[in-house]
Subunit: 419 residues, 2 copies
């Protein structure tokens, strides 16, 4: 069997963890690679909550994609929004010119899932990209500014109450960081306010925080958060909300002007547009080799892919390590196919999970070992620093972390309004 | 004569160089001080062009005002937009509750002046605040992205042509920084583009760049910019513009998709609302003691104030050192008045002027000494670092400058779109 002499064009949709990993695995091969993303940067979303809580600026966790790919002669980048795929013509349809492909890797990630509740979708804040994080940061700061000149104590308390719906890693990390922002920074900024009026309420529908973690880690996280003043409510669902309050399943209400929704994630909108088999959560069903059942040249990876076989027969979790490993596997399978070799099935090497709670506090599980507290926090810091793309982002994040840690400050608490 | 026993309330409108300097001069005195600004930060505008050219992120040059004032027990802050002053009732009218004053310092700064040309106002980019800088940065990056997949060479060149109108410090510094961004960074990012197509054209109506500087410094700046590929056009005015071209006084046109207007500055919109004597450029006429002629309790300082006596009888220039010194003088005069002492006249201690052009190149004049090139650049760096408010901003700017200088990189080249 001979190697094809013509170059195959591989198009990768999405420059997140999955797309980046696939592109790197295809760098300096005979493939002609084009990565398409609606943003011009790769976002390191595990630190997004720190942008929302004024600990980091966007550029610290965003790396320009062109700076990454300009190192590889065979990888190009195009900033565009992909609207659909024409599988028969082998065309990626975008808001601009269509892009032809021989092989396709769909790695468009995920978006917030409101389970059909449009009212919640319209009213709540989310935390899925830089624009969300900046909006939430501004919201928090504006609520304190408004509270500072609001004479009515009830209205003031409503402005200073923040309800986070969803006790997964995002909700837990955001709750801890908000609590620290209030208690260490805004307490000094607003001498006219009683910061004890500021409440962070974390609501989870299941009976434990961090439900996908081992249960004692969820309990540890809860204790630490409560120690920091966060109110944790388990076993309760949010059914309704308006500008001034949240309604729970038991018909009780919480008066709050800001609700953050981190309770659900679904496949990217692109998945909805595709005429393929998918789950209710818009994750596209793939074979064990990560391609569409009838189309061996079209791969779907990461949050967007529905692949069973994780801990029995559940779908793989929406985690960065899954996306990264699937990106490598999809790239390997494409290279194999180009050379007439058989593809391999994907097996996930579980690298564990972790969540940070605050200063010197985190929970993590790696290779069966569970850790909490200071050591877990140190592990969390080091792993995240190492994972950040590029020397400059590592430098900026480390500088900011050192500064924030030593001074208890969060310097990025500026409100940049745009007309 | 005895000191009054009741506390006088001093309201300062604006937390720029002038307002900040006045507030600090009044800190820890018997005055009850309230600073009002529409933003929650003090912006260090001399470095704004570096935010626009992706060298710095906003938080590096913005310092939260509450962090500054929380150090002083007698200084409070309110975020609000001041719409007018009721001089008879002694009330500052805002978009929120009115604020009463005994003494008032108006330091609301300046805004872009289009000399009545609404078409230019609608079509051009400006560089007066963080939101302007972020918009311009995104515009530059989006133009390159669009050019990268535009097949028509004429359209591509239009997208990559940037016309800057106004050869003052802002125009000169922006021209140099844009040229470096194109030649050192975007050249690598866009291998599909010929970066020699990218043009920066700097237009000045007078016969020299930096017209308020000594003339040989303007000539030096021009030579250095031209050496970096910037096209400088002197003695010509822009008369019209549309989405695709700029029309000059001599009826010639330049095909360009982006025009930046730095050719005029006028007093803040608040000045227009006030029923007081002012210049065509909305600068409010004050006495030599910096207060309104008929109202000794109302001071106007900085860009907003019209005070003659600079180098003969011209108005004082719109420079940070003028605002800072006037803030100190206004505060001193208020304290004197509170104690029944006479006020003093303002005299400007001229600290010189400077503008940076690019790597290792600047022009400056201090105390009659003129410098150009590397030494001037070093002086510029040191003076700006020292002037930045707060340790953290100094640290961030220094870290970024070192990184940018050593790597020729501009890492903040990310486009954060907002819905």
């Amino acid at each position: 069997m001979t190697t094809k002499s013509t170059t195959s064009r591989v198009v990768i949709v999405g420059a997140g963890f999955g797309g980046l990993s696939a592109a790197k695995a295809l760098a300096n091969t005979s493939a002609d690679v084009m990565v398409i993303d609606r943003n011009n940067y790769h976002g390191f979303w595990p630190l997004l909550y720190q942008v929302a809580t004024a600990g980091l600026e966007p550029d610290a966790i965003a790396h320009p994609t062109r700076a990454i790919f300009s190192q590889y002669a065979n990888v190009n980048f195009r900033m565009a929004t992909v609207t659909n795929i024409d599988f028969d013509q082998k065309l990626v349809l975008t808001d601009n010119a269509p892009v032809p492909y021989d092989y396709l890797i769909l790695a468009a990630g995920s978006t917030t899932h409101f389970f059909g509740n449009d009212k919640l979708a319209a009213i709540t804040y989310t935390l899925k990209d830089l624009s969300d994080a900046e909006l939430l940061r501004q919201r928090v700061l504006c609520c304190f500014e408004q509270a500072s000149h609001t004479p009515d104590p009830q209205q003031r308390r409503e402005l200073m109450t923040f309800v986070l719906v969803g006790g997964g890693p995002t909700g837990v990390e955001l709750a801890g960081a908000l609590s620290e922002l209030f208690r260490h920074v805004l307490r000094n900024d607003y001498p006219e306010l009683d910061v004890n009026d500021a409440r962070v309420i974390l609501i989870e529908g299941l009976d434990s925080l961090l439900p996908v973690f081992p249960q004692n880690l969820g309990r540890d996280a809860q204790q630490r958060l409560e120690h920091m003043g966060v109110e944790v409510r388990l076993n309760v669902l949010v059914t309704d909300a308006n500008e001034r309050c949240v309604t729970l399943q038991d018909e009780s209400t919480i008066a709050a002007r800001t609700i953050v929704w981190t309770a659900g994630v679904r496949g990217a909108p692109l998945a909805d547009a595709l005429d393929v088999d998918k789950t209710k959560g818009s994750r596209v069903t793939v074979t064990s080799r990560l391609h569409l059942p009838e189309r061996p040249a079209v791969f779907v990876i990461g949050d967007m892919a529905n692949l069973g076989g994780y801990k029995g027969d559940t779908a793989h979790p929406m985690l960065a390590p899954v996306a990264i490993q699937q990106g490598e596997q999809a790239a390997a399978n494409i290279l194999a196919h180009m050379q007439g070799q058989p593809m391999s099935s994907f097996y996930y090497r579980d690298l564990g999970m972790m969540a940070t709670i605050g200063r010197r506090a985190a929970v993590l599980t790696i290779a069966g070992v569970q850790m909490t507290g200071f050591l877990a926090w140190l592990g969390w810091l080091i792993i995240h620093l190492l994972q950040l793309v590029g020397f400059r982002n590592k430098l900026m994040v480390l500088t900011n972390w050192l500064y924030n840690y030593l001074t208890y400050d969060r310097a990025a608490r500026i409100i940049v309004s745009r007309e």
